[in-house]
Subunit: 282 residues, 4 copies
């Protein structure tokens, strides 16, 4: 399915400095960036960084003097997903995980899975099918955590959210990841453009490693799972910030959008209760 | 300098399970593993995992039934280091960091550098030479944090230690890393065998990325910097645990040692006050 | 019912200093201290402090020089309790609380009820009878938190325990208190001697203010509710420490016991599922 | 000195509920409330609660139905203070503290002095005069913590602020209290009306118990110490909230002011470097 994605971000720099942006649609075998355009106004030297394991396309922008900066990115992206049937998924075994996935079991800055071990097992340990575990914990987050902005901040972690039970997409994703890892299911953070997200913003959700694939989950249930264009994956928000700012540079405004690029019929896909179809962006 | 390193670890498994061990001396251009021997008693299938970016040599051991397990590792390792002069090191610039190093600026599970930004700048922001900054913050940790076991645990983080001011080598390293990152200096956790560490144990310290190299620092000052054999580096202890245990397996006892393998004169190297020589394991 | 309570505590003082002990059985209209004896060996000046609102009988001991100190307390205490029927208890209303009880709704050091508001309401908000709420949350703690020493410490709070789900009587009590306060039920910490507690130690549980009385609850279910001799109540463990130590004084060993003083038939009382009888020490 | 204090607070109640307000000027031997007026519009039943130990004058307001509520309080208050000379104050001794003051040594919700023990002694342990210790730690807070709203919230504690080093008057006071208690100096939270505070708001600072009196300190240095009208004291903000809300009631707007009521010359008093005069509101 083809989507037009767009963002425009403005910054006010009062000093020289560096911006590391993470807004490009990722290029993967099944997410084709058909066209894209980036403009930096005023013109500044920018450099695309070779990402580790193809998980993001960082762009580093050098500001050599104070300025008002406007960065515009638009792309036409074709995202192909597959639906896998996980109804016969056996219990997750560490012995069968590839080495490149193992570190997604480790706790990270915002996902202190080491502290959630007992809670995760008390709540979800009785379920034997790991796909069903992740669907169930995602539903549990959706039912217990209130989606409301202004109550969490850049330092809020899964350990906070599991008790305070309020937050935004970032907090929902961190909690989902921490619970997965506590259940010995590798999980990673996913940022992207999201079809018709309201209010318009970048979105965050998460992927769990199940049956040899990264399967997408979104405890906010705010957008269809097949309406996401991947920007980056990483351990948590610390790895995948939309922008890392070095210097006296202030973010001022932002626009984001993600629209269908073709007239064809889009069928929003969400997980249904009791279902075993999982969505995989290869 | 050649060292004989040795460890023997015993586990009591009451179920099947998996051990992921991180005890092999790392192979790098300048750390040569001249010989090594691993024995698992009783014999079990073990697999060396291809590590990400050569930062560790994980070994995965499958336990298919309950057993008493004894793992013995010994190696003869030649570690070559260099002393670099950092007296004219310019201020750290994000614009000059390679892409593969950038993520060592991110906060991690035990090193919440995002929370230490103001404290780090209040204490060390006046220093312009980044090498001097790291030497100074290492000294500050050494002077203010009491080295005492039993007061910190597996969940203690740099955010705790900076205030509670008590802990072990792991806590000293986490605090050093968090302070470096808060000062925009990439930093990573280092585990290794340490010459004549008392009481005998694995050691943890940290590396800061300065002038294009990873330079070694140890806020505990318990061992000479040139008496370390590197096992692994990672973001923090979550990435470099000596053992990750999956299943009902209990650690029981451990022995560790690191001795000189040759009669030649070993001159212990520590940073001296006001000096600008930094030790680099290439 | 009459009980013989006993404790002997030993300290090693390496300097002068002050001990504030909180080990005397409290004197209340319904807890009669029939006889008691305190010995300090070697003899030191000790002073009983007039407690705030009769909630504890602090004893301050002055150490004027280094010494080995042995403090022995024994008492014969008659504790009278009542069983109240709470089957028709209306919803708790702040408007009907006496002024002296209001501050037991506030969060305290170990009971951060402000952070547990949503969790408490998600779990127990559907219950209208406040007695049933407290019985249910006490059962929830008992079922979800593992009783095991060595995993929590003097800094562990209800906010930790609600997620880490492991701890000792102190942690169980803190979590019970925090959940009550989050549900607008005043709650306070209770320390005491406990009949046949194994291993022998002081015990901690909590009281909730229901229908005009302080009703006793114990999420550990380790001892019968009618087998407790009250030492002190307070906001949490910070107010009711068995000993506060000022100076270089180390606690070395302790003995505690609580035995029936009469041959009469003792019927252990625990809350039963679905029951509405609450135990009140007046 | 006579001051006119004033506040007007508006609430939007969408349900019945209870407000517990803490806005009345306290009546003490040396703070005389010469006249005061409270209006609740629309008229609602309000009850002044007998406070514990005269530390606050809580007012409980019952809302029996949804409404828009406007509460107006104005008073003419004469606050008398004394300046004491603490140049010869001996070291603080627990043995000489009255029983009613002892619990101000305990850690509380926002002042986890138990975690700051080593830090406090490392920074201020070398000072022998307790008054000088508190002046010095107050200056340290003033120099290291940035006064900026929007970075801390209702859950921010001294343990956060000591590292994050940003906050508002409430956070400055909590950190001051925690450091005092860690140094075995009883300390308590103080809320009040503050002369010409900008932007206009209620103010928070703290009192330390020194030489038998509660001495006032304000690490924000935003207002003169002799320009404060005391509303309440307590362990921390949890005890002295301007308003505790029970029910679906939203705070909407607030005005606060504190002006001189007489033309006489007001000489603002602040602690001067190296001085030993401490301000005491009896």
């Amino acid at each position: 399915m083809k989507f037009n994605v767009f963002t425009q971000m403005q910054y006010e720099a009062r000093s020289e400095g560096t911006l590391v942006l993470n807004i490009h649609a990722l290029r993967t075998p099944n997410q084709l960036v058909l066209s894209e355009e980036l403009t930096i106004d005023p013109y500044l030297k920018a450099e695309e960084l070779i990402a580790i394991q193809g998980e993001s396309r960082l762009m580093r922008v050098e500001l050599t003097e104070p300025c008002s900066l406007k960065i515009t990115y638009r792309a036409l992206v074709d995202n192909c997903y597959e639906l896998h049937d996980f109804s016969h998924l056996p219990e997750a075994l560490v012995s069968q995980l590839p080495a490149t996935v193992l570190h997604y079991l480790n706790p990270s800055r915002y996902c202190q899975s080491d502290k959630l071990y007992r809670l995760a097992h008390n709540l979800f340990g009785y379920i034997t099918n790991p796909f069903e575990q992740v669907v169930t914990l995602t539903d549990w987050i959706h039912q217990n955590v209130q989606y409301l902005s202004g109550y969490s901040n850049a330092q809020t972690s899964a350990f906070d959210t599991v008790t305070e039970q309020i937050g935004v997409c970032r907090d929902f994703a961190h909690l989902g990841i921490a619970l997965c890892r506590a259940l010995t299911i590798p999980a990673r953070y996913f940022t992207g453009y999201a079809y018709h997200l309201k209010p318009a913003d970048f979105h965050a959700c998460f992927e769990a490693y199940l049956g040899g694939n990264w399967v997408l989950f979104d405890a906010t249930k705010l957008v269809p799972l097949n309406g996401l264009i991947k920007i980056a994956t990483g351990r948590d928000a610390a790895d995948t910030a939309i922008a890392n700012i070095f210097g006296d540079i202030n973010f001022t405004t932002m626009e984001v959008s993600c629209e269908l690029a073709e007239a064809e019929n889009f069928e929003p896909f969400y997980y249904e209760a009791g279902g075993f179809k999982g969505l995989v962006y290869l």
